[in-house]
Structure formats: C-alpha cells, structure tokens
Symmetry: C2
Subunit: 341 residues, 2 copies
C-alpha cells in the first residue's frame, strides 16, 4: 500500500513551501482571518502546485462540526427519490453543506442503522422519507439534538417536523375525481405497505373517501405488489377478473400505473373506456404513455429543497415552521374517464 505521507501534501507542506506558519495557511485558504494579499496569493499558488486537498476528517474534528447533512431514501431505483435527493444536495451545497446519501431498502432496521452510520460520519441533520420510523431512532436523534425532517408526509400536529402533504388527503382527492366520473367499483394497486406509510395512507385515503359516500372498498380489490412491472401487471389482471371487475383503479404510484396500462394494452382492455387508471408522482414518461396518465404531481424536488433549507435554518438556530405543507397538483390526462354503463 502506498504510504499516504509521501503522496499527499498536508497543510504543513504548504506552509513550508510558502514560508509561513500552518495557521496562516489555514486562514488564507479558509478566508477565516486577515492575511496580507501578497502572502495569500503565494499560499494559494503553492497549494495549487502541490494539489493540496485539506482532509475533511481533520477539519471536522478540529472545527467540532462537519458541515454535512444526511439524506436517506428507500431506494435509488425510483427516480422520484433521485429528484428529491438531487434538489436536497444542490440546495445544501449552496448553503455550504456537504451531503451524505444512504439507502434504507424500505426496511426500518436498515434505515436506523444507516442513520447511525450517517451520524458517525458527522451528519448534523437528516432528511428522512415518510413519517414512520423506529422509536429508538427518534429517541437517538432527540437525545443528540440532531435536527431531522420527515418528507412526503405531513404531520399537522408538528410532533415530528415534516415537509410534504397528507397522503390520505391527496388519495381522497384522486378518489373524488373518479367518483365524479360516476365510478362505483374501485380497485387499488398499492406498493407494499410493510415499511411504507405513504402507500398505506393512500389506500386509507381511498377507503375513507368511498366510505364517506356510502361505498366500500373491499379487501380483494386492494392488491399490494412490488415495483416489478410483472407484478403490477398481474395485479391489474387480478382486479379486472373480480366480479364485478373494477372500473376505476387507483395506483399508489406511476410505476404501478404504468404496469396497469401496459397490461391493459396486452389484454386489449380499453383505457379509459372500460377502466380508468390513475397514478401518483407524475414521472417523466407519464404524459407519454398511451393513454397518457392522469396522476398527482408530487413536488419531489421542492420537498428536497425545502428540507435542506429547513435543516440549515435549524442548525443556525433560526426559528422554523415545523410543518410545511406542499401543494400536490392534480393532472388530468387521458387514462381516466366516465364509468362505463
């Protein structure tokens, strides 16, 4: 293994080559104290020549701060999380923070251990996904006074800081749209609800809205599946083979809705003439499907950005609102239409 000392230059090397003390180098490079212009120029030149890269570990230790934030998402595989985390990263970097990314795999134990790992790495604040987390994780964050914020969810009580929206409410809104179109028989294709409170709440939102008008969402009309297209296609077939078949299907995200639309194409079922399909998220390709997908535009990028702002504000001791509601826009496209006679 190459010796680190020989191949990397440290602040000491820069100081020597510039003929100043390490203190001055630190001040010059960080702009953290007065340095004569001429000296500063010399130091910068030397640093560049030596490809000096300050070691974050040492800086963190000495500053007793890391200026870094952690973000944890369920999976890298779904692009809405990419949108959120990217916006989070951009805003954080703007505000002078470095971002550490972790993945929970939709598993609460993994989430907790990954969060601990983020804290070990110095994360001063955490952006979390959804509102349900291990008690022990919440306790840990509280006891260490680590600011965190739940996203894609809304905790109106403000018990836990959150940036997002009521998943129940938006699912209710979607359901109402279908009710208005005269639909009576509803199906739901939902992402696995194991450690996914957003999915669970969306199902519940449909159920409650239906109950409110005297309709009932029967158990066999609710099908959970993974993001694999093969599964959502199977789910669609299943709901369509019930008696009576569903005429309106709410999918808890656009991936599932895409599976449903594709399966409809394969089965020769006409959408929306025979069945209406509705999703959530508004992915890039949602307007391009045939038929294009009616969905709810979930503002992932804005949430990521707001989350970064929130955490930075808290770290600066600014007072902040503990519950920020984001607008979710209903996007009417072609995949929903009047209930068949």
């Amino acid at each position: 293994m190459a010796s680190k000392r020989k191949s990397q230059s440290r602040i000491q090397d820069v100081a020597e080559a510039a003929g100043v003390s390490i203190t001055t180098v630190s001040r010059a490079l960080n702009g953290t104290g007065p340095v004569k212009a001429e000296v500063r120029a010399r130091i910068e030149a030397v640093a560049r020549k030596l490809s000096y890269i300050p070691e974050r570990a040492a800086q963190d230790l000495s500053r007793r701060r890391s200026y870094s934030l952690g973000a944890i998402i369920p999976t890298l595989d779904y692009s809405i999380y990419a949108r959120k985390i990217d916006a989070f990263r951009r805003r954080s970097e703007q505000l002078g923070y470095n971002v550490l990314i972790a993945v929970s795999d939709y598993n609460s134990a993994t989430e907790e251990s990954q969060c601990i790992n983020l804290l070990r790495s110095g994360a001063e604040g955490l952006m979390l996904e959804g509102g349900v987390h291990n008690k022990s994780l919440y306790k840990l964050l509280d006891s260490r006074h680590v600011p965190y914020v739940n996203t894609s969810t809304l905790d109106a009580t403000g018990t836990h800081p959150s940036i997002g929206f009521s998943n129940k409410a938006i699912a209710g809104k979607a359901t109402q749209h279908l009710l208005d179109l005269g639909h009576k028989v509803f199906g739901v294709i939902a992402a696995n609800t194991g450690f996914n409170d957003r999915s669970r709440e969306r199902i519940q939102g449909v159920r409650e809205r239906l109950a409110a008008v005297g309709n009932t969402l029967l158990g066999q009309y609710v099908i959970e599946c993974s993001f694999m297209l093969a599964e959502s296609r199977r789910a669609f077939r299943q709901v369509m083979n019930l008696n009576p078949p569903a005429t309106a299907i709410v999918c808890t995200n656009d991936i599932l809705a895409m599976g449903a639309i594709l399966e409809a194409q394969h089965m020769g079922v006409s959408v929306p003439r025979e069945v209406s399909i509705l999703g959530f998220d508004d992915l890039d390709w949602s307007p391009h499907l045939l038929p294009s997908l009616t969905t709810l535009l979930v503002p992932m990028a804005e949430m990521g950005q707001e989350a970064a702002t929130y955490l930075c504000d808290r770290l600066q001791g600014k007072s902040v609102r503990n519950s920020i509601e984001m607008d979710v826009k209903f996007i009417l496209r072609e995949s929903t239409g009047p209930a068949p006679k």
Copy 2:
C-alpha cells in the same frame, strides 16, 4: 445550537462509566486487542446505554485510513446507475468499506470537483463511469496513488483499469442483428455525446459495422437527444420523416428506445413491421412494452460488484487484472424484425 459535548458521549465517557481506560474501550469495541470477556461485556453494555457512536472523523484521522470508497455516476435519475452503485455499495460493505456517492451530471468539470470532494472525505478508491476523464483528474489520482476503475467501458490496453465491455463491439453486434434481418436504412437515436464516451462509441460501432458491409450511416440519420421522453419521441419522428425513412433504429439506451416505441404507437407506425427498434441496457420494463424491446443486457450490477472487489483487492495490495471484460447478452424480443419490402 446544542452543545455537542453535552449531548453526545465520547469514548472517554464510556471508559469512565465502565471503569477502564479509553484504550481498553477502543480495543473492546473494535475487537482489536485482548480484553477480558467480562470487561468487554461491561463496556459493550455501557456503550449501548450511552448510545455511544464512535466518531468517524477521529477514527479516520487516527487510523490514517477511512475504509471508505467513492463512486461517481452521471445521474441518479437513470436506474441502471442505481443498479450499479447499489451492487457496489453492498459488496463494499461486505468487504468492510463505507461508500460515498457523488454525481457528475454528465459534466467533466463537475466530475473532477466531485472526485476531489470524495478524496477530501477520505475515499481510498474510486469507481468511475466511462473511460474519458479530465487529464488533471487522472494525474491527481495517480500522484496520490488512489486506485480507481473505469466501468461500462473496456480499455484493452490496460492503460486505465476498466471493468466492462467494448461499446463499439456491442453496438456492432446489435447492428449485425439488424443487417441479418435485411435492413439497409439505419437510424441512430443517441444520448448526448458531450461527456458520454459510451454513447459516442456505440454510434461509432454502428457506423463501422455498416461500413464493413459497404453501407453508410449518414449524418442526418444520427440524432442526439436527452433522456426526456419528449425529445426521443421527436427524434424518432425526425428519423422516420427522412427520405428514405429508416427501417432500423438503434437507440443507445432503453429510455430512448422507449420514447421511440411510444412515438411509434402515437404515430400509428407498426413496430417491427414498418420499423425495427433496438435498445441497450434491458431495464425492468423493457420486456413489458408493446412490442417488447429487443436490447442488450448490460450487466450493471455485476460491474458494480466487480468494481468494489477490484478496488478492495488493490487496497490490500493484491495483484489484479487491469481489464475485466463483462459479457453483454443480446436479448431478442419483439421490437426487431425483418426489413419491410
């Protein structure tokens, strides 16, 4: 701002509470030296009670190592990178390394600065995407003796370590398939080639294979676009409106191919009767499109895994092959067929 000292316990606190020296705590928790079983148990209990989390910055500094690896990808938005980086992370963690993720945004300057950032954070090795990088980046990595490995590309000369395949060769393979089906007029829809050598090589692979049989790929039959579906749909329309229209379209990835297939559906063009469409990557939904997509299965997960193994081996001073070729499987599905008469 909360005082760190008051809310977080350090090794000292654990040592005191357990009635031992900090050295013993370190040894017990890291398993890095002999500790009486009974004492170890006591220490572990105390550590747990205090929610002691060792600070990585201090560990890194003291160990003069970070045991972490960096991975940089063009975007989080395309799921093939997620596959790769996830496999990389899993294997790295298995081997005792922590993974830092960075995004280059398909920009070589950003790539370089993000890599520097990874090095600052202690990355001991780097997984890169593609084979073309700034000279200054290569120089930096060399001068610091940081192992790195290019992926999704193959440098047979071994100048730069690489794990992947020849993009030219696989594009040639795809082209040959279409030639065998009798196609004469080829179109290419390609991802922007700015800082994307893989895309560029795939185009070149098509061109050379055609040249080898006396056919020519004309400039106007090659269209570059972003991953936005709107753009690839437009690109498809454009290639189909040429005179003569293309009968075989090679898309440099499945996203673009999806755009082409969707636009064909919208235009009422029959695939593959009127035009054959072929992609690269084999995404989850590629077999589910209508028609299902003929494509080349690029082994992203395997590359990520191999990259992690490679870097860890190098860090352990093991001798390694500098050029590992991965197999790319041709997947025949419905979107390609005989050239129309």
